[in-house]
């Protein structure tokens, strides 16, 4: 085997509370398309950020073409010919194609930008990737595929030796994907190495020469693609013995239909360009049932939760709670119908960090705490806080304590209490245990079981497959805004779920 173009050896990186990478070795040869695979949180992004110069490793060495290198900044990485094309492109939409290609290194004459030369050269550069466009056009007017081509063209113009593509196909149509693959093969011939990150295993089989798999921040294995099957890849990604960390709850008989989603379609948050569109979603949840939603990042789980909750507009389909069709213009309507949502990002979407536990807990229930003349019935509020504080064993000095000073687990319990105070029919929890410690995690799980037992229908979204399998009665998998499969939890294994989450044809 020839000396690799890139060799990262013994790479380690930790963040407060998390060991993101442990002793990872990663090699890529010149002219090779190399897939980097792993579950959410396996350490892919951290490894690539180190390579892009955006983060520095705690330990380990990096060599490029045999020379030891250091990557203190993204500029340093670019100067060495290591170019990263992020999933969320790095283009400036208000500037032209040519300005984007040459940003920071515009050709100049007498200290002024030489526009004619810049546009002429940009035209040549984008022609290399098959774009026949006027380089003076604004990037904001281009399609996603065209923007990606501009990114690749820019990478080429920087004498790149190694191009990192983070999920380049996720926003492309099938025809555009084929065009991209052709281009990647052309780059190979020129001796450029490509690191290819994707959730689509069939693309790995089709395009890549070799694969490296990470799991829990460690290297699982590296192999040429010819020696592997899709099943083998999935086994490598999931790997660990499926351990059931927490006690299973007794399966209760599910009750009447609580939530029905019929043919739901949406385009996601209008303000978020990268939101996944939902297509033809059908699902039902019964009283007392916990439905798990599994899928990789970008599968549309959060978008589905937000659509059911009225937080994003829906484009089609119906949502019924207890048999009644809802008209959802805002979360206010969903809440009135008995739906609650514990959102994915606690700090940004759920907590009022400048306020006390009291205000955070009772905010959704204010309508029920009405006294006379718009005053709060503060005695009722005190009772409410006491009841849920005890029921969820929220550890706080007093209700007046700033919520910012509680632990993540206790903050999450306050958010849960906010909804319980409304006695919802349907509760959606999006990553309910993200960023909280193991003990609190078990408590939250136990709480979800109790809520289900009390007759609430629960939809639980989690990126951790063991968690989904532990808490759910039934699991629905999603990919790219569609439902790809459904399993009773008893029949689910990480392998089966991973297959449903990654493959176009449901296994």
């Amino acid at each position: 085997m020839p000396a690799p173009l890139l060799r990262m050896a013994g790479i380690a990186k930790s963040f407060p509370g998390v060991q993101a990478l442990t002793d990872v070795t990663f090699e890529v040869a010149a002219g090779e398309v190399h897939a980097l695979l792993g579950e959410n949180g396996a350490g892919k992004s951290t490894l690539l950020k180190i390579l892009a110069g955006a983060q520095s490793p705690d330990a380990g060495t990096i060599t490029l073409a045999g020379q030891p290198i250091s990557l203190p900044s993204p500029q340093a990485a670019q100067a060495l010919g290591i170019i990263t094309i992020y999933q969320e492109f790095n283009l400036i939409p208000t500037l032209s194609i040519a300005e984007n290609v040459f940003i920071g290194r515009e050709p100049a004459r007498f200290g002024l930008v030489d526009w004619r030369r810049m546009n002429a050269e940009a035209k040549g550069i984008i022609a290399q990737v098959g774009l026949e466009l006027d380089p003076r056009r604004l990037v904001s007017d281009l399609s996603v595929a065209e923007q990606q081509m501009v990114e690749i063209a820019r990478a080429l113009s920087m004498q790149s030796r190694l191009i990192i593509m983070d999920e380049p196909t996720s926003a492309l149509s099938e025809v555009e994907v084929l065009r991209l693959f052709e281009l990647i093969r052309a780059l190979k011939v020129r001796g450029i190495a490509i690191i290819f990150v994707t959730h689509r295993l069939e693309e790995v089989m089709q395009l890549c020469d070799a694969v490296t798999v990470l799991r829990d921040g460690r290297l699982v294995g590296r192999a040429p693609i010819g020696e592997l099957s899709v099943d083998g890849l999935i086994r490598m990604m999931v790997g660990r013995e499926v351990e059931r960390l927490f006690a299973q709850r007794p399966r209760v008989e599910a009750g009447a239909l609580a939530l029905e989603v019929e043919g739901l379609a949406s385009t996601g948050d209008p303000m978020d360009q990268h939101a996944t569109s939902l297509h033809d979603i059908h699902l039902t949840v019964r009283r007392g049932e916990i439905l798990g939603l599994a899928g990789l990042v970008g599968a549309g789980r959060t978008e589905l939760a937000r659509a059911i909750f009225g937080a994003d507009p829906i484009a089609g389909g119906r949502i019924k709670v207890a048999g009644e069709v809802l008209t959802l213009r805002s979360p206010e309507d969903a809440i009135a119908a008995g739906i609650g949502l514990v959102p994915e990002d606690r700090k940004q979407q759920a907590l009022f960090l400048s306020l006390a536990v009291r205000n955070n807990l009772s905010i959704a229930a204010l309508g029920r705490l009405a006294g006379r003349f718009g005053f709060l019935d503060s005695a009722a509020e005190d009772r409410l806080i006491k009841r849920y504080g005890e029921r969820l064993s929220i550890k706080m000095a007093s209700p007046e304590q700033a919520i910012a000073n509680l632990s993540g687990g206790n903050q999450q319990k306050v958010v849960l209490a906010r909804w319980l105070a409304l006695e919802p029919k349907v509760l959606i929890v999006d990553e309910p245990t993200r960023g909280i410690d193991v003990a609190a995690k078990a408590e939250v799980h136990q709480l979800l079981f109790e809520l289900a037992e009390s007759g609430i229908a629960i939809i639980a979204i989690s990126s951790e497959l063991p968690e989904v399998m532990t808490i759910s009665d039934r699991i629905v998998t999603m990919r790219e805004g569609r439902i790809t499969g459904e399993l009773p939890a008893a029949e689910a294994s990480e392998e089966r779920l991973m297959a449903l989450m990654t493959l176009r044809q449901a296994a």
Binding site: F309, A311, S330, P331, E332, A334, I335, A336, L341, P343, Q348, Q349, A350, L351, F352, L353, S354, L355, N359, S362, I363, A364, L366, G367, L369, A370, F373, G374, F375, L376, S378, K395, A397, Q401, A402, A404, N405, L406, S407, R418, A439
Partner: protein, 345 residues
């Protein structure tokens, strides 16, 4: 068991630490105010005379009414730059109503008094103008999604223009005694504007602390997205806040015209700056969700005392403007510093 008690002890210790800083931040304006008063008292004994102190308070009252409204606005992460212009416009409308129309505007003295519609209608007119203008701006902010800064910058220009157009550039002066009482009268030894300010401050404090509306304001300002996902109607709260601000500007315009016994289109110039400075110095965060009426009252008095003390010591009004400008920037710098402190916790 032991684990949780350790956690609690740790949290309690952290709380104490934060509280020390929080306490200091909370009472810093009050301490600053007392120091400032002491300095002025030494420099100029006249400062502490009851005549002067009530004079200060009377001046402060108009700013104070506006600052109460502005506290609500800033608590929701908003801003209102139009209040000075709106105050002038509302004052002129009130004056015109009191005088029974623009024809008798220049009539001064007893002869004209009989012609008007009286102060109650004038007050209603001023409040009506304020509420309508506030609703208009609130509508532009919530429905047209134009940032408050831009909407009220437009309002600042438009309402000033409306005031000039309405009055043809000249003042409307000379009101009857009932009208003037609102600006010049006394209850016992306390000037009426001070009483109005005190009552509204008390009411605003109660609203912010003990009502649904108050809770919603803090929630919307603290985290608008979380507020929406908690089922609050963020747009409605925002609209209400600008209507309230307009109401306070209308009231301020009425009281000011009563105090001066004259309304003019150039009244209230740069009031927005003084008022925003008062609110921010009083500890209300421009980032929203943090602030109290108590702080605003202290901040308003502080600015009033500062300006009064400067006047008594013969500092020119040009220098006063420079000082106000510097104070605004310093107060926000302090706010940003406090915010970064909180984030580290």
């Amino acid at each position: 068991m032991s684990r949780s008690s350790v956690d609690q002890a740790g949290a309690a210790a952290a709380d104490r630490q934060v509280d020390l800083f929080g306490l200091l931040a909370k009472f810093a304006p009050l301490i600053f105010l007392l120091v400032l008063m002491a300095v002025f008292a030494i420099l100029q004994p006249r400062f502490l005379s009851s005549l002067n102190l009530f004079n200060v308070m009377r001046q402060v009252s108009i700013f104070g009414l506006l600052a109460i409204g502005m506290t609500f606005v800033i608590l929701t992460r908003g801003i209102d730059l139009s209040i000075g212009s709106l105050l002038a416009f509302a004052g002129l409308v009130a004056a015109a109503v009191a005088k029974g129309g623009l024809e008798s505007r220049f009539a001064v003295g007893a002869g004209a008094e009989a012609a008007g519609y009286g102060w109650p209608l004038a007050l209603v007119a001023a409040l009506g103008v304020g509420v309508a203008a506030g609703a208009l701006q609130g509508f532009a902010i919530t429905r047209l999604k134009v940032p408050p800064f831009v909407v009220t910058l437009g309002g600042m220009s438009a309402f000033r223009g409306a005031a000039l157009l309405f009055a043809g550039g000249g003042p409307i002066s000379g009101f009857d005694e009932g009208y003037r009482w609102w600006g010049q009268g006394y209850v016992g030894i306390v000037p009426v504007p001070v009483i109005i300010f005190g009552l509204f401050a008390l009411a605003a404090h109660v609203v912010l602390r003990y009502t649904h509306f108050g809770r919603r304001i803090y929630a919307v300002g603290g985290n608008p997205e979380a507020a929406r996902l908690s089922g609050l109607n963020v747009d409605r709260v925002t609209l209400q806040v600008y209507v309230l601000m307009g109401f306070m500007a209308g009231l301020g315009g009425f009281v000011l015209s009563a105090r001066l016994n004259s309304a003019e289109a150039v009244a209230g110039l740069t009031y927005e700056l003084t008022v925003i400075a008062s609110v921010v110095i009083g500890g209300t965060s421009l980032f929203g969700g943090i602030g109290t009426i108590f702080g605003t009252v202290v901040g308003t008095i502080l600015i009033g005392v500062l300006l009064n003390g400067l006047v008594l010591n013969n500092v020119s009004s040009y220098v006063q403007q420079i000082i106000i400008g510097v104070i605004i920037v310093l107060a926000v710098a302090f706010d940003t510093f406090a915010k970064s402190r909180r984030r580290r916790v």
